[in-house]
Symmetry: C2
Subunit: 350 residues, 2 copies
């Protein structure tokens, strides 16, 4: 165990990368030095870390020769290529992409939910999908207390989850729309696909590519990751999960409408609200009389997960509706990644 | 039965009112004369009907003295006050507000689903809520063929459902947001409430006011109206329905993520798709390979209900996910209202 660590941020110039820099600066991790890595295109850019100017370097296997900790958010292909190189050189990597999430040897961790899994790592720890993190964060205390039989989620996902370029595209579209000019979509719903559609003042029920069964990758990520995170014990009873993922014209902050069924039919809305309010990293915003409920605009820039609109399904004992919002770049990405790194340091798992 | 009818449009200057005028102009109803009625504030405005200029008159009980058919969309309070006066004077009224929808003596009708109920009218026929219409239109053929046990819906509702002024407010907010100016919400989520929040680039999980149990009026409308429309027979088995209604920054076109469970577990996605494609007024847009799915931007200005993203819940036989989009001002309001009036004429129920 070292006193201070050399930390590399891979994908430092992206939407999540910029938050990784600020979250790392605010963290409890003792830092020797920070390296900012990105693609050749972004190399040479100057970024700030704690008032110090750092020049972005092009990422290569050798970039990790002197690195202890890698925080990665440069896309799945880059992670698959470079993180094993970093591990070979002795670094521990926290990866924000989907590259290793479903690898049975890689812990998939949300601190506050299943950080105990960290001790099984072999150099790489995966950060779950943004839409998964906020849902399991809100459901975990409920699962621990009453058990969960079924989860049905419909997402309302912000454009920043598709990266800075998609975010810029939606802003340009909105300006064109408001000036009665034609919109020019080239990125959304998903880079590299055949068709592109405007998101401004529209809804796109496609996030990531489609599987043969009609579900998108994003929907399967939510289904598989939720089970991997919550069902840590081999003998835990199965939780049924299904998802519909929709991109909405919001800049930052994913919304989720979650219908869930608990094992214990005696559980009540009142008890669930008390439990949410008492759970660290969760904020209960649920007062219909005061029109208090989670909104993306209020979650932006926050590290917490906001929970509200808790209602019992009057026709199904033990079933409830809930509305969850969190900053997808912070709670759903950078904050979770840095919290994982903090746990690694604290538990001497580096 | 007359050869030609005097038709009054009540609330002619609103977002739905303008569509009632154009839908009536396109309809098969034989028209003697059209009266355009609105509040005192809008009286004197000049509007076009089939190339003819009509001056908007202030609505009063006497406005209906010579009227055969009223198409109403001026708000619940106005309907409650004026439609009984119109009925007293011999008119038949098709009402777009929630004023009479749950009145057991008033048919609540979606043509193509339950127009047989029209023959029980006593002068007033209610047009369901916009979010209800598109959902029951898509679910009805499935219900008729395989039965329905449960419906869980999360809505993505366009701002035009809250009226022209809310629509203007969101446009202004979007312009302010894109110019880094503060936004000034005064209408949304719901007129007359204590708090107002911006909708541009945000999500508001409140449509209409809250009930004591934490559900909104809009959510209860969807629950109660769906049952009233689908369960026409007293001995029909109950369908469980629950809803979460969210306002999204879209101008026109409601989206709905619907999870439903059928009685017959042998039903398949393929059969459901074939059934949807063969049903009048429904358009199947479901080809993941071609990234074909319903989008508000494509539904705008159309009278059909668009259905796609049909997927089986692999863990629950007989359960499916579906994505529905329709123009809330046309399919969800004006077109349905005028179709009801056409049925009344055709079936000699005027």
């Amino acid at each position: 165990m070292k006193d201070r660590y050399v930390v590399a941020i891979l994908g430092a110039t992206g939407a999540v990368g910029s938050r990784l820099i600020s979250e790392l600066a605010d963290s409890k991790i003792p830092i020797e030095r920070v390296k900012l890595l990105a693609s050749k295109r972004s190399a040479g850019k100057k970024l700030q870390f704690k008032g110090q100017t750092i020049i972005v370097e092009e990422a290569s296997p050798e970039s990790f020769d002197d690195v202890d900790l890698v925080l990665s958010s440069a896309g799945g292909a880059v992670s698959k290529q470079l993180l094993p190189e970093a591990v070979k050189r002795g670094a521990v990597c926290v990866d924000n992409t989907s590259a290793f999430r479903m690898d049975p040897t890689v812990p998939l961790v949300v601190p506050g939910v299943n950080e105990k899994q960290l001790k099984y790592h072999h150099g790489i720890i995966a950060n779950p999908n943004c839409s998964t993190i906020q849902m399991v964060a809100a459901l975990n205390p409920i699962y621990k207390k009453w058990g969960l039989k079924q989860i049905i989620v419909s997402t309302y996902q912000a454009v920043s989850g598709a990266g800075q370029s998609a975010w810029n595209e939606m802003r340009d579209e909105a300006k064109d729309y408001l000036s009665d000019r034609p919109m020019h979509p080239e990125i959304l719903p998903t880079k590299g696909q055949k068709h592109h559609y405007p998101l401004a003042f529209n809804l796109l029920p496609q996030i990531d590519v489609f599987e043969e069964d009609g579900y998108t990758h994003e929907e399967w990520k939510m289904i598989h990751e939720t089970k991997k995170i919550l069902l840590n014990d081999a003998d835990a009873p199965e939780i049924k999960v299904t998802a519909t993922c929709v991109r909405v014209p919001v800049a930052v902050g994913h919304g989720e409408s979650v219908y869930f069924t608990v094992d214990d039919e005696k559980s009540s809305v009142h008890e669930i609200k008390e439990l949410i309010a008492a759970t660290p990293r969760l904020v209960l915003q649920d007062d219909p009389k005061e029109q208090l409920y989670p909104q993306p605009i209020n979650a932006q820039g926050k590290r917490e997960t906001f929970v509200g609109r808790l209602r019992a399904d009057a026709e199904n004992p033990g079933a409830f509706n809930m509305w969850i919002v969190a900053d997808n770049l912070l709670r759903g990405a950078a904050s979770n990644t840095v919290e994982i790194a903090e746990c690694l340091v604290k538990e001497q798992l580096m």
